[in-house]
């Protein structure tokens, strides 16, 4: 029909929307007929005018069909239809086993991953939330500003003073608890073990919610010689949890030479501390504060424990902090002055309050010093990201396969529409099918989670239990996840399928709309994610290899590390003589326990921080650490221990010394002790590779106690050497706990976190690739099926198998190649950001990307070519014989 004789579009549309439904058809027809008549009799302009006028008069926007009331449409959920839906769904699933399997397996893996991560993150964010006094429990933290007003340091620790002084001055602070960890020797019979023993103020049970199985929480720690043990310790030590009044022997202090074992009466048995608690104690005793310590105001600056305060629920946090700092400035005025004079401490300190529940995931103010399970929130993000990726990819598979396969169901849809199926019914049917599949996948997923939970716990360093799954919020979360996945996966197919035109689908062969950009872009997205993860995994792997294989600058092989607190010079000499009697033992050298750091003046007035190592002349040769300049300590020179120090290269660089030998290091606060540098030690990684090498100073100062010793043994003599070592140790130090580690092993264990994440990334990448591949496999299958005839004709006309395989595979390979465009920049950005965490790291190499690309293409090719080859090899007679 020529455009000139068409009535105004808007009017026609208005009519089709709002005319009376019962007479819509004939009115539309009548008006159209009249319009042509008017055009011929009175001209187009007036015809238009009349048409519009009539349309406007005939609008009945509120009218409802009367027929509808007389003949209501069949109930959407009538049992017969439902039964039919189930039958059809079951038949299509059973008829396409590969497709159903891919969908269910893919979705269930995706869902299982998402469930596990939900479990993980739930555990992470639930840390410390079980205390009844939350959110009013805070930890006292502090920060330091240098004279220029720049924040230099934050600290989580406090001392004896902060708790009681702040509580006395701030009425909003209801109570305080100081808490710290010590390692004390515990004696049972003749056996001595070193035990982590926790000390806390006696009101710990009223501030925190740690239930006691027996004993009175109010009085349990009131007496100085009382102790609360966990049910585990009670079981282990006494074989029963009924241990009230029993006695355990603990050494009073680890630091004094003359400390004795004294008896402690068990006054309470606590339930095992919850998994998601930062405070985990097995043995808890009262924190005893010496009178003289509280008298010395300088103890404002002695930080070694955590102090928690309980605030009034109505307290204003900012106001409380301000009051605390006012008290500090007033009360510690003298101490601040002394610090400034004696140690040149010019920094200004400020106290803050950190919510107790905030500790676990806080990177700057982590739980430490007796508080356990610090966690990096980045891990939660990475895990959540991976799980989301997997879920998205599984959903993409679902959508892609359902839409691609719907081709075959076009006839069914056509028939349904012809016999009166409405669009809403079809949408309902397809959404229902998607939910059915989703439900199956969900059930599988739950089984899968149960199956892999132990492995996951090991990987993620958690103790998540099955019972965790049945938490109301989690269950709600899972149901939400289920609904979201079902909708996400089924919504698009349902919409597309229900919109097919029955005439087209039944009349001629139906063509899936054109180029199918959605399917293509989804495949691109899938492979972009997969190659992103491949690159991430490769990078984590090579960074891990780098960390574990990098030359540390010293030889850590065949070295046994033995702890021995307060090892004095005579004991050391005796120990060395005894140990060297065995020919398997090559050398013995001591070192201070733990990590020491201090400060000294160089070049006159410049203050230099450094790692402070107390060693003996054997230390550097034993570890094969070269001396770059000057000489090592000498056992023959008496003055070496009182006047000489060694420094490392970084120290020299920081100090700016051209000629380091003979330079003076001034420990001005220690009665102006002065030392001369006699040698420069080559830089080596004394700490983990996640730390940069800092300035290091070696001394033999006689008053510094040794805390451990290293024993170098001949290779292959581990068993004999260890036996000799243990025997000698027990003979010389009968009441000391004995424990050893191999240095190279403990060095490697510093990268346990990396090792775990390496594994998790690997799993994630493998899962993602797997799900992407089965999706691609499904698509390839469907496309090969669709082109059966084409392939048959091509073969008849002489196409070779290889050319057919190329034809069928190239489409998908192009998509995979295209996905790199998105994956590479994103991956480069992500791994660059991750590697910034490491001061010693690999360079991002182009090879990583090349390898990832080759891998992705190879995997995709393998997947697709399986189907392509099968299709290309098939007999053309079979495909062409039947219509």
């Amino acid at each position: 029909m020529p455009n000139a004789t068409r009535p105004p579009r808007w009017a026609t549309r208005l009519l089709s929307w709002w005319s009376h439904p019962d007479t819509r058809e004939d009115v539309q027809g009548d008006l159209l007929e009249l319009y042509h008549y008017w055009v011929m009799t009175v001209g187009k302009r007036r015809a238009d005018w009349r048409y519009c006028l009539n349309v406007l008069k005939l609008l009945r926007p509120l009218a409802k069909s009367k027929q509808a009331r007389e003949y209501p449409p069949p109930f959407l959920l009538s049992p017969d239809m439902l039964r039919n839906y189930f039958t059809i769904a079951w038949r299509t699933l059973a008829h396409n086993k590969v497709y159903s399997l891919i969908n269910v397996v893919g979705l269930s893996i995706g869902l299982a991953a998402a469930m596990l991560i939900m479990l993980y993150t739930k555990d992470e964010v639930s840390y410390d939330r079980f205390h009844a006094n939350n959110p009013h429990i805070y930890r006292i933290t502090n920060r330091e500003f240098n004279p220029a007003g720049v924040q230099e340091r934050v600290g989580t620790n406090t001392g004896y003073f902060q708790g009681p002084r702040f509580m006395a001055g701030v009425p909003e602070i209801l109570s305080f608890v100081r808490y710290r960890e010590q390692r004390l020797d515990m004696k049972r019979g003749n056996e001595v073990t070193s035990q982590p023993v926790f000390e806390a103020d006696s009101n710990i049970f009223s501030v925190f919610s740690f239930p006691l199985l027996s004993g009175n929480p109010k009085t349990a720690l009131k007496a100085p010689n009382s102790v609360v043990v966990s049910e585990d310790v009670a079981q282990r030590e006494f074989g029963t949890t009924d241990v009230l009044g029993k006695i355990i022997y603990l050494k009073d202090s680890d630091y004094e030479d003359n400390s004795q074992f004294s008896p402690y009466i068990i006054t309470g048995v606590s339930a095992k501390c919850p998994q998601n608690s930062s405070i985990k104690f097995d043995i808890l005793k009262q924190l005893i504060v010496p009178q003289e310590a509280m008298a010395d105001n300088n103890n404002w600056f002695n930080f070694f424990l955590n102090t928690f305060v309980l605030l009034n629920p109505n307290a204003n946090l900012g106001k409380v902090e301000k009051q605390m700092n006012r008290i500090y400035v007033a009360d510690a005025r003298d101490a601040i002055k002394t610090m400034a004079q004696q140690f040149g401490m010019k920094n200004r300190m400020e106290y803050m309050l950190q919510p107790f529940t905030d500790m676990h995931l806080n990177k700057d103010l982590p739980p430490d010093n007796g508080l356990v399970d610090r966690s990096n929130p980045m891990y939660s993000y990475i895990l959540t990201g991976i799980a989301l990726f997997i879920l998205i990819i599984a959903c993409i598979n679902f959508v892609n396969l359902t839409v691609a396969r719907s081709l075959k169901r076009a006839k069914e849809i056509g028939i349904r529409k012809v016999v009166g199926g409405g669009r809403s019914q079809l949408t309902f049917q397809f959404l229902g099918e998607s939910f059915l599949l989703c439900f199956a996948a969900f059930v599988f997923a739950v089984l899968l989670v149960l199956l892999v939970l132990p492995t996951f716990n090991q990987l993620a360093n958690k103790a998540l239990a099955l019972s965790y799954l049945f938490d109301v919020k989690l269950v709600a979360g899972y149901i939400g996840l289920f609904l979201a996945t079902g909708l996400l996966a089924g919504f698009y197919p349902a919409l597309v399928l229900s919109s097919y035109d029955p005439v087209q689908t039944l009349y001629s062969r139906f063509k899936l709309s054109g180029r199918n950009y959605l399917q293509k872009s989804l495949v691109v997205l899938q492979f972009a994610i997969a190659s992103f993860l491949i690159i991430g995994t490769l990078t984590i792997y090579s960074q891990f290899e780098y960390l574990t294989n990098k030359d540390l600058g010293y030889d850590d092989r065949h070295v046994i590390d033995v702890e021995k607190s307060r090892l004095n010079r005579n004991e050391l000499k005796l120990l060395r003589d005894e140990l060297l009697k065995n020919p398997n033992i090559v050398g013995v050298t001591p070192k201070n326990g733990g990590r020491w750091g201090t400060i000294a003046k160089i070049n006159g007035e410049t203050q230099q921080n450094f790692a402070y190592e107390t060693i003996d002349p054997n230390f550097l040769p034993l570890f094969k650490i070269p001396i770059v300049q000057g000489r090592n300590f000498s056992a023959d020179l008496r003055t070496d221990s009182t006047q000489a120090v060694l420094v490392n290269e970084t120290f020299v660089k920081k100090a700016g010394w051209k000629n380091p030998i003979g330079q003076v290091v001034d420990f001005w606060y220690n009665e102006n002790e002065k030392y001369r540098v006699v040698g420069v030690v080559k830089d080596h990684h004394y700490a983990s590779l996640s730390e940069e090498i800092g300035p290091q100073l070696f001394t033999m100062k006689p008053t510094n106690p040794y805390g451990k010793f290293f024993v170098k043994i001949k290779p292959g003599t581990e068993t004999a050497s260890l036996r000799h070592l243990e025997k000698t140790f027990k003979r010389l130090f009968p009441i000391m706990p004995y424990s050893y580690t191999f240095l190279d092993e403990s060095n490697r264990s510093k990268y346990e976190a990396e090792a775990k994440w390496k594994q998790i990334m690997l799993f994630g990448a493998i899962l993602t690739i797997f799900i992407s591949c089965i999706g691609l496999f499904g698509l390839a299958t469907l496309s090969a099926e669709r082109r059966t005839k084409e392939i048959g004709i091509r073969k008849v006309l002489g196409a070779s198998v290889s050319s057919l395989v190329q034809l069928l595979s190239s489409d998908f390979l192009k998509l995979v190649g295209f996905s790199f465009v998105f994956a590479f920049p994103a991956a480069w950005y992500a791994i660059d950001a991750w590697l910034q965490n490491y001061p010693y790291r690999i360079d991002i190499s182009a090879w990583t990307f090349v390898v990832a690309a080759v891998m992705a293409i190879a995997i995709a090719l393998l997947t697709v070519s399986f189907q392509s080859i099968r299709a290309a090899l098939s007999n053309p007679i079979k495909s062409l014989r039947t219509e």
Binding site: T23, E25, D26, V27, Q28, G29, D30, L31, L32, E33, L34, H36, Y37, R50, L53, N54, K57, L58
Partner: protein, 112 residues
């Protein structure tokens, strides 16, 4: 017996439907009225009236006779029902009685 009430336009429409016999639908009725009475009537008016008459039970309708000119849409054909015929008859009778009862001189005045 209570008689059905028919408005003047309703009567015209019904008569037109009766005249058109099998061919009475919106368009033809409108055109026929225009031609026969010479007055310009809107389609919407005719359509509304037809609907009202059908609701009253004077007209019956059936669908059919789609043509390309109408965009493939069917027509709604109207026929006069028995009740409709009776109503027309009543109206006519009332009118004739009224005419008959006119005094002769007045009648002459009107008819000229």
């Amino acid at each position: 017996m209570k008689r059905a009430f028919l408005g003047e336009f309703e009567e015209v429409v019904m008569l037109t439907v009766a005249i058109l016999d099998e061919e009475a639908y919106g368009v033809t009725v409108t055109q026929e009225i225009e031609q026969k009475t010479g007055r310009s009537v809107g389609f919407s008016t005719v359509h509304t009236t037809l609907q009202r008459l059908e609701e009253k039970g004077f007209l019956a309708s059936r669908m059919g006779g789609a043509t390309a000119e109408r965009g493939g849409r069917r027509k709604r054909f109207f026929t006069v029902t028995a009740a409709g015929r009776k109503a027309l008859r009543d109206v006519k009778q009332v009118r004739e009685e009224l005419w008959r009862s006119l005094p002769p001189q007045t009648l002459q005045l009107i008819t000229g």
